[in-house]
């Protein structure tokens, strides 16, 4: 072919024909390679390989590392007791779906048989799609959107029967909070401050708003912030104050919540504050004056200062692991419960580490939805619905003298 003398039209025609024919002919060759993980008993050596994905660097690292450390405590406990042999491999996702899928593919090369993660919702939706296609069992400690499990009303994702949540879904938290405030007649005028750049915060707020409307709660002020503006809340607090709100609902994580409380205190505004599970951890935040959190109410499944023996043992082990005096947050407890739930399901279903991942996934998923399968975790006694949603009751807590007390 004479490339030098080819006309532009001729080249376009050639390129077009080549393009279309390859496009229609060649697309089918890229099929997904099935995943089993290592099945050779010699290689597996009786060790269950559990993968973990969490943001270990970046803005959400504080939650991701808590997840990881909680899971590590559980793995150590299980290995020490000789119940099973576990190996845990945690990979960083930087709170980004792209990196989370990369991390998951990395774990596939390592040979995971079940997955703990991911911490945050957006990346988790992308990962659950992958695990669902491969048939890898997944329990997420704290990704609370319904798109994570899929198949329920209001979700865009198809049902993923391999995915289970340890935390409450966003709708649950939003509606539970609204119901609680309305039933206990905590307030006449409610203000909300939420992070509109955050899926968790917006998700809870939307459901809170819907339920509040239904119950006739009067929301007088809705103000928002983003991750970039999460260090000054005077505008939002003034808006709430000028509307005369006597309760502020804070569906936010504990770092911004701590600033909101301090600034409200500084401007002498003293409404009631009501938070959700992301607020847990505020009391152990370094440099935080606990007195401004006095009287704050929150729905949380886990209390690090509880006196029961299991919580105390967990807190002790967590401190030993991290080497700091900081108390574990709810995220750490969720991570712990994830591993413990998987371990219990492995024992009940009798799966062995040499089985291919999809078979393990099927057996574990069946076990999880048995009505008599109850995991007595740090975050409460959990059962699972067929959709993958957890069924456990949130505990209403109030902060008194710097510690949680049941409401």
């Amino acid at each position: 072919m004479d490339l030098t003398r080819m006309s532009r039209r001729g080249f376009l025609q050639l390129a077009g024909t080549l393009g279309v024919s390859t496009l229609l002919g060649g697309c089918g060759s890229m099929e997904r390679r099935p995943y089993t993980g290592p099945t050779d008993p010699q290689k597996v050596n009786g060790v269950f390989r559990i993968g973990g994905i969490a943001p270990l660097t970046g803005p959400a690292a504080i939650y991701g590392t808590a997840n990881r450390d909680g899971a590590l405590v559980a793995v150590k406990e299980v290995n020490d007791s000789g119940r099973l042999k576990l190996e845990l491999n945690f990979q960083d996702d930087e709170h980004d779906p792209e990196k989370a899928v990369n991390a998951y593919n990395n774990l596939k090369d390592w040979g995971l048989k079940a997955l703990v993660g991911t911490t945050t919702t957006g990346p988790c939706v992308a990962v659950t799609d992958e695990t669902n296609a491969d048939g890898v069992f997944q329990v997420t400690p704290s990704a609370s959107s319904i798109d994570v499990i899929g198949g329920v009303e209001g979700s865009n994702e198809p049902a993923k029967h391999n995915v289970f949540q340890i935390c409450f879904t966003d709708p649950n938290q939003g509606t539970a909070s609204a119901s609680y405030i309305a039933e206990q007649k905590l307030a006449d005028k409610v203000a909300v401050i939420y992070n509109n750049a955050d899926a968790y915060s917006t998700g809870i707020f939307n459901n809170f708003q819907a339920k509040a409307e239904e119950l006739g709660l009067n929301i007088v002020s809705e103000s928002t912030f983003t991750d970039d503006s999460a260090n000054d809340f005077t505008v939002q607090l003034n808006a709430a104050k000028s509307e005369g709100a006597d309760l502020i609902f804070l569906p936010v994580y504990y770092t911004p919540a701590s600033i909101i409380l301090q600034q409200a205190d500084a401007m002498g505004y003293q409404p009631k504050f009501f938070g959700v599970d992301g607020m847990d951890g505020i009391l152990s935040l370094e440099g935080f004056d606990k007195s401004v959190a006095e009287g704050v109410m929150l729905l949380t499944p886990f209390v690090a200062t509880a006196h029961d023996e299991r919580t105390q043992r967990f807190v002790q082990a967590y401190k030993e692991l991290t080497g700091s005096q900081e108390l574990p947050s709810q995220f750490a407890a969720d991570g712990y419960d994830c591993v413990m739930a998987i371990v219990q399901a492995i024992e009940v279903s009798g799966v062995t580490p040499e089985m291919p991942a999809p078979e393990i996934c099927e057996r574990l998923s069946e076990t999880f939805i048995q009505p008599d399968f109850v995991v007595k975790g740090l975050t409460g006694d959990a059962r699972w619905l067929e959709t993958g949603e957890v069924d456990k009751s949130p505990k209403g807590m109030i902060i008194k003298n710097g510690v949680y007390e049941a409401m």
């Binding site: 030098t4 957006g122 799609d129 959107s145 798109d147 750049a197 899926a199 819907a210």
Partner: protein
């Protein structure tokens, strides 16, 4: 072979670039077919393709047109969300290839409209103003999408800037873009093959533009604006042309990227992503298209290959970047590289070949 020697230097260099991409595609395809590619590498293929397209398109603005654009992720984001919405509205009844093509075309269309809207006033400015405006543009797009809800039900499309509730969808309605949660339930239409074709398309557009009359005008404006103006080149027109074409190509790359994941958040397309794309271009050599392609592939794989060192990997990544930048731009190191090259070419008695058009 006789014919090849008659080709102009630019055409030969372009053919090398196409050949390089095709060879890489065939090698990867063979690795996948024989089952010797790792899952990690297979998962990286589509993002690599998207980043190559993004680097190539930004190269058109930064290298060829000589403007500093810091908001390329904004165009990527517009393309990504347009593509997602269009593809979902078409529904699963349509052939996947056709859906993907329509998705990419509409992504290019909206991104280029955005490019025209922002480029029209800004291209009359000089110097750093474009950088500042594009930086702001990227952030504005991110924040707009954080407050953007779009849903569809049997009555058609619904749109709100308040919340998903405010859409007022009837039963069976579906939220397509859900504020900060972005889009979920995105059909997986992207494939390595589609990525390869998009790279070839992007290269075709960019390389042909560079070697065309318009491309020479664009470079003339870059090299000396006043001289270009004095010979009657419409400066604004040519700068805008490069900018809008780059925006359209970035939009397509964004759509390819988004359709590889089942969920995409507006947060992804922030300033950091814009800078990442710029780094790909600068590291590959501004104006050097082939260099950009290679650096996009290498810099996407590198952090994944470094996973074994855990939290230190971003540190190593940064060190590699600094090292590579020094090697490319530090005058002493450049001099040292030139000497080495001269030694080699003296031996071979040949002239050194330089790829693409160089920004020097």
């Amino acid at each position: 072979m006789e014919k090849v020697r008659h080709l102009s230097k630019a055409t030969r260099s372009n053919l090398i670039t196409y050949g390089l991409v095709t060879a890489a595609f065939i090698i990867m395809d063979l690795l996948i077919e024989t089952g010797s590619a790792s899952y990690s590498l297979m998962g990286l293929l589509v993002p690599i393709c998207a980043y190559i397209c993004l680097a190539t398109s930004l190269n058109l603005v930064v290298g060829v047109s000589g403007e500093l654009s810091l908001g390329h992720a904004g165009f990527m984001s517009i393309g990504a969300f347009t593509g997602i919405v269009v593809v979902q509205l078409l529904g699963s009844g349509t052939n996947d290839v056709v859906r993907m093509l329509i998705g990419l075309a509409s992504a290019a269309a909206t991104a280029s409209v955005a490019g025209i809207l922002i480029g029209w006033p800004v291209m009359r400015l000089q110097g750093d103003y474009l950088a500042i405006v594009t930086l702001a543009f990227g952030e504005i797009i991110k924040n707009l999408l954080n407050n953007f809800w779009l849903g569809v039900d049997k009555y058609g499309l619904h749109f709100s800037m308040k919340s998903a509730m405010a859409l007022g969808l009837t039963d069976g309605g579906r939220v397509l873009i859900n504020g900060p949660q972005g889009a979920s339930g995105i059909p997986h239409l992207s494939s390595f093959f589609a990525g390869y074709l998009l790279i070839m398309f992007t290269l075709f557009v960019v390389l042909n533009l560079i070697n065309s009359r318009s491309g020479r005008a664009i470079m003339a404006v870059r090299d000396n604006r006043i001289a270009a103006q004095s010979v009657g080149i419409n400066v604004t027109k040519y700068r805008l042309m490069a900018f809008v074409i780059a925006a359209a190509l970035a939009g397509m790359a964004g759509a390819l990227y988004a359709m590889n994941y089942s969920s995409v958040m507006p947060k992804k397309f922030d300033f950091n992503t814009s800078i990442l794309i710029l780094v790909l271009v600068v590291l590959g050599g501004m104006g050097n298209i082939r260099g950009g392609v290679i650096s996009a592939a290498v810099l996407t794989i590198l952090p994944e290959r470094l996973r074994f060192i855990g939290d230190f990997r971003m540190l190593i990544y940064a060190l590699v970047l600094i090292g590579a930048m020094n090697l490319t731009y530090d005058t002493r190191l450049v001099e040292w590289r030139r000497k080495i090259r001269e030694k080699f070419s003296a031996k071979r008695q040949g002239q050194d070949e330089r790829g693409g058009v160089s920004g020097e």
